[in-house]
């Protein structure tokens, strides 16, 4: 009876406390009492040594080959510790006996590997610090097989004296032994270098180094191998991976500060080529820890780097320096690349390009972060993400920079170093919780930090995972500053929750006994989980443990091992899930062969359009610093028509400001010959934003309407006046009197017979009032008199359309099937709007789009996607890959007014961070722009929690205008008898803003497919360039669904800001032409193989 009640009580207790996935075990249970204690003194602190707060590392591996994973931790100042796993999650400190405590000095990363190939795991410990060279020599503790170790670094030639962060052992030359890459940093401050010459220098202490293993002795081959070794490479992590799947290990190096990261591609001949700028579009600024893993199970390793961007508004506002465009461009011209301060997830497209999706994936903001570890913690087949964070003291707080430091130093007396130290001690520390994200698939990660047990706030650095209790799930160890290292036990398996896994221990003969560099694919149904066997992950840490694959089901069809020498070994028989299996190398003689791909759907065309769109490089933020994006980079648009009636379509491509738009005539061979037109040259000063071939004067040939738009003009600049060119036998002359006088900045021109009189009228949508974003510009409805003379009758015929908004696109479509063309318009901060035509009157009608959906709609395209004989609409939008995430309850708002009463419009963008709406602008940006706010926000702290009601008075807000956006997704609308039903598209559609759309049956399967392109480079530095779209092909599935076609299959590798797509026959081949801002167009053929 008593037992019954006891059982009930116990079950009640356990039920009332939901068990979190990870359970923090106290040292009283594990005996892991290691603590990375850091004592700040006047001689040694964050000011005297810039990496004082970087913390220590963790290594996991089986040092005594007893099947239980042990732990090694490095302490910066305190001695390192080796804990042997005694089973039942009890560990024994055998450091002293083992002889691995390390020397007096500053210890950093730890890298475990069987360096001498004797089957026992060795330990390489890295040293840094402002100390004598010999105190900085790295150590290699060779495992003698009996839990004692001897330091043989010097003997073997790898007692590197550089300021080392971490090191990685791997077989780069595939000769069967492990070589060594040593990642070093500089202890001198060399920031914001404006001299590219420093990049070519070789620094003996700060430069990275590559050592080749020749018979257990290492030779420095740094320069020979093409490894960069300069003094501004502040390397904080090196991750090895075969990033291009060619069987040879490559490397990613994260560099702090201004020097860009490095992507070293193995050339197979003992050298590497550094290819970062060719393959990645932008990177983290202060890249710290990193990891590489296949996070979307497509077989290609993806790269993730950490930076410093906080998740919450307050810390962001306290941290952000004002946007500095000169500095950003200076870094570009000096070869330092596009660097933005946030975590980056570089999804590998398998073709030498990467799409950065950290924001759409939800893992871009984790504050000052150190370790990134991808591993399947909930055994569901997708690799989850663990991130550690924390910084010793809040000195990058802008109030510290601007006020506090000077205030304190003024009153402190004594030696400079003592004064600095006293000032330092007054700076507070902010403890943060670590992050853990559940990978939900589809590039979506869910923040489970608190739910999975990581609510504790601390300063965490190196971390490592392993299955310490051999129960089938991965546990975590975290090295923390000034508190005991944290041991988190994973409770997944014992909780009974559904999960499946497979652990694989690889072994091979020879000097690479643990088969570092091998790759394993586990096939389970239609899923495949890929894991690479490289031990170094995260920050200053390494794990040489059985490979752990979580699985979506218990069914395993086969395991394929690709050994370091590229031999394949397949295991098919009887593999049960949820166990550890040992796989020893068996020479099969079968080598990996690159799968002969079916040819890609699109192939680069041989024809080209000899025109380079050339921007005038205006910086719109010099006019209105608070705009979110520049508006001067919206071209080129392209118009096509058979101008000379030879049966071949010709092209007019818009020119930027100061560049003439150009007409190219297609030849039979598929070339384009420039047709020189004086009329076009005369108008080179205008910025062409759209062009339309249509028969204006009804004489049977194509005339040309060109919109003069843009932003970098004075409000009433005559260069903003649109042009109508009349075609006379292939010669175009401007009809100066055909159009009404206007100087608005237009975006689109669409022809339709509004009044049903047999000629083509024009809707001209306006984009912006130059210099006065976001005031509503005036759009036009130009009625044709039949002879090519146009009169603006919008106020009479379509009053609601005249100031409908900042129009980006429009289209004529007979929605209600009454044979009168209706009009749909899209715009920024707008719903998509419908205007129904009733005998030439266009009336705004709501209820055609089922939700209000106010967005930053950037392009629309009409096509019959579902083959039901009506036009559906694909609507391009801003996408989800930015800091701005919106929904109905958390819209973005744009307040605008002349708040300062100085005659200028101030736009203030607010968006939700967490549960509250905050301004996007930093304190400096907003007070620079609105002098009246300088007294309201004298410090950064005073602004750090300000929302719109704290910035302006209720009266000011009432008198201001307000725009809202609650939907940023690119979607398609199904035309269902005149009502448009919204359908989502795959996540790739929201990789970046979409500015160009096309449709056709590209795949040749009878279904209409969608092609999306876009990207934006000229955005505020805070938002950063968004460039993940290289040409996104969505294949129609026949049931209104569309599936993303991977780049390797689509064949697209379009880099740059695409502003238009034209589909036409060139040289008899179906061709896609991408109009790219400030660049040459790129052409692809399709439908060739069918």
């Amino acid at each position: 009876m008593i037992m019954f009640w006891v059982a009930v009580c116990i079950s009640e207790i356990t039920q009332s406390q939901p068990v979190k996935l990870f359970s923090l075990l106290p040292s009283s249970e594990t005996n892991i009492t290691f603590r990375n204690t850091l004592v700040e003194t006047a001689e040694l602190n964050i000011i005297t040594y810039e990496y004082f707060y970087n913390g220590g590392g963790v290594a996991t591996g089986d040092f005594n080959n007893d099947g239980l994973i042990d732990i090694y931790l490095t302490g910066n100042l305190v001695s390192n510790k080796l804990y042997i796993n005694k089973g039942n999650l009890k560990f024994q400190d055998i450091t002293k006996a083992a002889g691995v405590e390390g020397r007096k000095g500053w210890k950093t990363g730890v890298s475990v590997a069987d360096v001498n190939g004797d089957g026992w795991l060795d330990i390489y410990v890295c040293y840094s610090g402002d100390l004598e060279p010999k105190q900085r020599r790295n150590q290699l503790f060779i495992n003698k097989g009996n839990l004692t170790f001897t330091d043989k670094a010097e003997e073997m030639g790898i007692a590197d004296e550089g300021y080392t962060t971490q090191a990685a052992f791997f077989d780069y030359d595939r000769d069967g032994d492990l070589d060594l890459f040593v990642l070093n940093h500089n202890i001198k401050t060399l920031r914001n270098f404006d001299a590219a010459f420093v990049k070519k220098m070789v620094d003996p202490d700060a430069g990275d180094r590559l050592y080749r293993n020749d018979n257990n002795h290492f030779t420095d081959v740094t320069t020979k191998a093409g490894i960069i070794s300069n003094p501004i490479g502040y390397g904080l992590s090196v991750i090895v991976s075969d990033i291009n799947n060619d069987g040879w290990p490559d490397m990613y190096v994260s560099n702090d500060y201004v020097e860009e990261d490095y992507l070293y591609i193995n050339n197979h001949d003992g050298t590497f080529s550094e290819q970062l700028k060719q393959q990645l579009q932008h990177i983290s600024n202060f890249s710290m820890g990193a990891d590489i893993a296949d996070i979307n199970n497509d077989g290609w390793p993806d790269i993730y780097t950490l930076d410093m961007l906080p998740a919450d508004n307050k810390r962001q506002k306290l941290l952000f320096a004002p946007d500095n465009y000169e500095l950003y461009n200076n870094q570009l011209t000096n070869g330092f690349y596009h660097q933005l301060m946030r975590n980056m997830l570089q999804v590998n497209n398998g073709n030498g390009t990467f799409s950065e999706t950290g924001q759409i994936s939800g893992i871009s903001n984790t504050d000052w972060s150190w370790s990134a570890l991808f591993a399947d913690f909930n055994n569901d087949g997708n690799k989850d993400l663990f991130v550690t964070n924390g910084y010793g003291r809040d000195m990058i707080n802008r109030d510290f920079v601007k006020f506090y430091a000077n205030e304190r130093l003024k009153f402190l007396r004594g030696e400079p170093s003592e004064r600095m130290f006293q000032m330092l001690k007054g700076i507070k520390t902010t403890l943060l919780h670590n992050y853990i994200f559940e990978n939900k698939g589809g590039l979506h990660f869910r923040d489970c930090s608190l739910e999975w047990g990581f609510e504790e706030e601390n300063l965490s650095h190196g971390a490592a995972y392993a299955d310490f209790d051999n129960d089938g799930d991965l546990d975590l160890v975290v090295n923390r500053m000034n508190v005991e290292a944290a041991f988190y036990r994973n409770t997944l398996v014992e909780s009974g929750k559904q999960n499946n896994y497979l652990q694989i221990k690889l072994q091979m003969p020879g000097l690479n006994s643990f088969a570092v560099g091998a790759k394993v694919n586990v096939y389970s149904g239609k899923d495949v989980v890929t894991i690479e066997n490289f031990p170094v992950h995260g920050f200053q840490s390494s794990m040489q443990i059985p490979l752990h694959a979580g699985l979506s089901s218990s069914q395993i069809d086969s395991i394929v091992v690709r050994w370091p020498n590229d031999e394949l070994q397949t295991i098919k028989e009887n593999i049960k899930a949820n166990q550890l299996i040992n796989i020893t190398y068996k020479g099969t003689g079968k080598y990996f062969e690159e799968i002969k791909r079916t040819s890609a759907i699109f192939t680069p065309a041989s024809s080209s359009l000899p025109f380079k769109h050339k921007e005038d490089e205006a910086n719109d933020f010099k006019t209105q610093p608070l705009m979110p994006n520049m508006l001067s980079y919206s071209g080129p648009h392209i118009a096509k028509a058979d101008v000379n009636k030879d049966g071949l379509e010709d092209i007019f491509i818009c020119g930027a400001k100061g560049q003439a738009g150009s007409l190219f005539m297609q030849t039979q061979r598929g070339d384009f010959i420039l047709s020189r037109q004086n009329a076009f040259d005369d108008d080179a000063g205008s910025e062409d934003t759209d062009a339309l071939f249509f028969d204006a004067d009804g004489d049977g040939d194509m005339d040309l309407y060109v919109i003069s738009g843009g932003y970098a003009f004075a409000k009433d600049d005559p260069l903003l006046h649109d042009r109508l060119y009349i075609n006379q036998n292939g010669s175009f002359t401007k009809n100066k009197n055909a159009l009404p006088r206007e100087t608005s900045a237009g975006s689109c021109v669409r022809a339709g017979d509004v009044d049903g009189d047999g000629d083509l009228d024009l809707f001209v949508g306006s984009r912006v009032v130059p210099g006065r974003y976001p005031e509503t510009p005036e759009s036009f409805l130009l009625i044709n008199d039949g002879k090519g003379n146009f009169e603006n009758k919008i106020s009479a015929l379509a009053p609601a359309l005249q100031f409908a908004g900042m129009i980006t696109d429009a289209g004529w479509i007979d929605i209600n099937k009454d044979k009168q063309p209706d009009l749909i318009v899209s715009g920024e901060w707008m719903n998509i709007k419908c205007f129904i035509n009733n005998k030439g009157q266009l009336k705004a009608e709501a209820n055609y789009f089922s939700d209000s959906l106010s967005g930053w709609w950037s392009r629309i395209y009409m096509a019959d996607l579902d083959k039901d004989n009506d036009l559906d609409i694909i609507a391009g939008n801003w996408g989800d890959n930015s800091q701005l995430h919106v929904n109905k309850n958390k819209p973005a708002c744009l307040y605008y007014a002349d708040f300062d009463n100085n005659g200028y419009v101030d736009p203030l963008l607010c968006y939700f961070i967490g549960d509250r709406s905050y301004p996007l602008a930093s304190r400096d940006d907003i007070t620079d722009q609105m002098t009246s706010l300088r007294q309201r926000f004298p410090t950064y702290d005073s602004y750090s929690e300000a929302s719109i009601n704290d910035i302006f008075t209720a009266e000011q807000i009432k008198n201001a205008q307000k725009l809202e956006a609650d939907f940023f997704e690119t979607v398609w609308f199904e035309n269902d008898n005149g009502k448009f039903l919204m359908h989502h598209l795959p996540v790739q559609a929201n990789y970046s803003p979409v500015y160009a759309i096309a449709c056709d049956d590209y795949t040749g399967d009878g279904q209409i497919d969608i092609l999306l392109a876009g990207n934006i480079e000229h955005t505020s530095i805070k938002l950063g360039k968004i460039d993940a779209n290289y040409g996104i092909l969505l294949a129609g599935g026949g049931k209104g669904n569309f599936n993303y076609v991977p780049q390797l299959n689509s064949g697209f590798k379009v880099q740059g800001c695409v502003r238009d797509i034209i589909q036409m026959n060139i040289g008899g081949k179906k061709t896609i032409l991408f109009g790219i801002n400030n660049s040459m167009p790129i052409l692809y053929n399709y439908g060739l193989s069918k």
């Binding site: 465009y325 990058i396 601007k402 933020f621 100085n902």
Partner: protein, 437 residues
Amino acid sequence: MKRFITILFLLAKLSGFAKEDPFNTGDYILALKNVTDVMVNDVTSPVAAGRYYAYITLTAQETATQFQKEDHYSFAGKLNGFTDIQADLASVQQSNFSFAVIFSIYKMSERLLPSGYLLVKKQDSLTAIAQKRGLSLKTIDASKQLVNSIVKQIQDYVRQDRFNKLSGLKKYTPLEGDGYWRPTGPGYMAALEPNWNTLRTFILDSCQQFKPLPAAVFDTSTSSPFFVQVKEVYETGKKLTKEQKDIANFWDCNPFALQQLGHIEFGLKKISPGGHWMGITGIVCNKAKRSLQQTAFIHSIVAITLADAFISCWDEKYRSNRIRPETSIKKWVDPYWRPFLQTPPFPEYTSGHSVISTSVATVLTHFFGDNFAFTDNTENEFGLPSRKFKSFLHAASEAAVSRFYGGIHYRDAIENGALQGKAIGNYVITKMMLGKI
């Protein structure tokens, strides 16, 4: 001179002042120093500081002058766009002259400066001291009301100087071409106040009235006058003597010298060039035992000169947009060279310190004479020892050459800047018809 002072004293008695004024020159100087501290705290730019000093000291001067029946010397009608200040005579009679003058310094500063709220406490302690020194609450309140009214009127004057429009004007983009200004390290800050010359000047008839001689033509051939100057800065910088370093530091006057150590950044603050000369003005008014009224007058003239000199200097800076020595030397002589001082974020020609120091020194010479020696201790609080000067022009020429030692200016920017400043100073004297006082 003596008769002037006697008249003043008689007038003072007639207006019903306290037997001894509770506040004097020393209090004025202290109050202005407190205002300077707030400006330093806010990292007020050199040009902005000049403008603030001008309006703040103008307020004190206009307050003071309300208490003079004869020899009433308002600046109304003498400064561009500055019309009469109305003050109720009864209100003046109920107020206390010296309290009102000091209080007006704090009040106007509170209104103008971003961190002006920091001066509310100073107003409260001033009130407490006034009571301790014998003023009745009634007098104090009347004085405050009077000051508020004057401050309000002058704020209307302030609002029309087009400062409010600056934030709407196009921000600066460095010009294309080798000889043009580029942002400099370590902060690579955007160019400061490129449109400062659009502000209303106080006395000059336009920002270009005293356009300096043109800068040496940009030329990288080694024998060109420009490049000779580049080498000169380079060579001097490589072998600075202790005295030259001391001089450079003394006149650094950098409101925000950015320090970067790893991920740590902070700024070390000092008074601006204008702040330095306001300090000197205080020192010499004290030394020459000038009355409060004279002190207010002199400070106001000095500050107005300062403000217009900055407008004139900035007008030329953003006309010539010249490259700084640190940029030209790193590019064409030695990529490792660094200037001794931190280069401030604006184009090079002409040198701010050369223009404003010489203009102010010219005006001070007019008030105090050619060989008025003084000891300048304004930089003591920043750890720099006092320096002795034989005359104002001596101090100004040292301030000018300090920029050359500091490695942030070429010689012509200093020499022509000094000429520019001298012309401005002389013009102020003439235009304001300043007799010797």
